[in-house]
Subunit: 101 residues, 2 copies
DNA sequence: TTTATATATTATAATTTTCAAATATAGAAT
DNA sequence: ATTCTATATTTGAAAATTATAATATATAAA
């Protein structure tokens, strides 16, 4: 048995928990699931996910500020896509665990 | 483009988000990390993780009620271990993404 | 039986998250 | 210039989470 938890483990757990907190919301997960298929405009995401304009924008802002997502403005639309490799890997793993046959 | 999100996706996202909510706490993650190495008594967990008695017990109760953990009482100690294969897989995946070289 | 140890539960206050409504902005179309 | 469309931001209330303290329980030891 060792003494205190390696400080490193605690710090990592804080970092990871902060990321998981953002994932741990049904609407944000639905948005991310949708984006794993490729970029979507905000309006498309609203329709596909059934989330209101304001709430959608708030979720997207949070994930953008946290570095999960980036945007690409074309015409008068804003397209969002997953820009964080770690998020893609986690989504893949969640798919394997919960959605695979 | 399809219409509404498959209801199945929404439902799965709710289930998964509920699980991630429990994971998304630095202390609970630290506890789970520790338990990936094998079962530990409550007292051992308190020392290793540096978490107070009451808070530890509340975290353990939550994870036990959610089916992540089970207990084994021996002597006058309660040993906790991870009993949900999905949690083990997620922890492994988080390790791969955030802690691997 | 009393006391000590290990763990669990309850209550409550503080903090954080979430949703909804209103308002703001920016570019395109008229 | 005005209006419309797409998106973002702000605000405030409701709900959920977290920490802390107090109390409870159950078993072992004295």
């Amino acid at each position: 048995m060792q003494g205190a938890p390696p400080e490193e483990m605690k710090e990592r757990c804080e970092t990871i928990a902060a990321i998981l907190k953002t994932l741990a919301n049904p609407q944000r997960l639905t948005i991310l699931c949708t984006l794993t298929e490729g970029e979507k405009s905000v309006g498309e995401l609203q329709k596909i996910c059934g989330i209101s304009q304001s709430v959608m924008s708030q979720h997207l802002a949070r994930m953008r500020l946290q570095g999960f997502l980036r945007t690409d403005k074309r015409q008068n639309f804003v397209y969002y896509y997953i820009s964080d490799e770690r998020i893609l890997k986690i989504m893949q793993s969640l798919h394997d665990v919960f959605c695979a046959e």
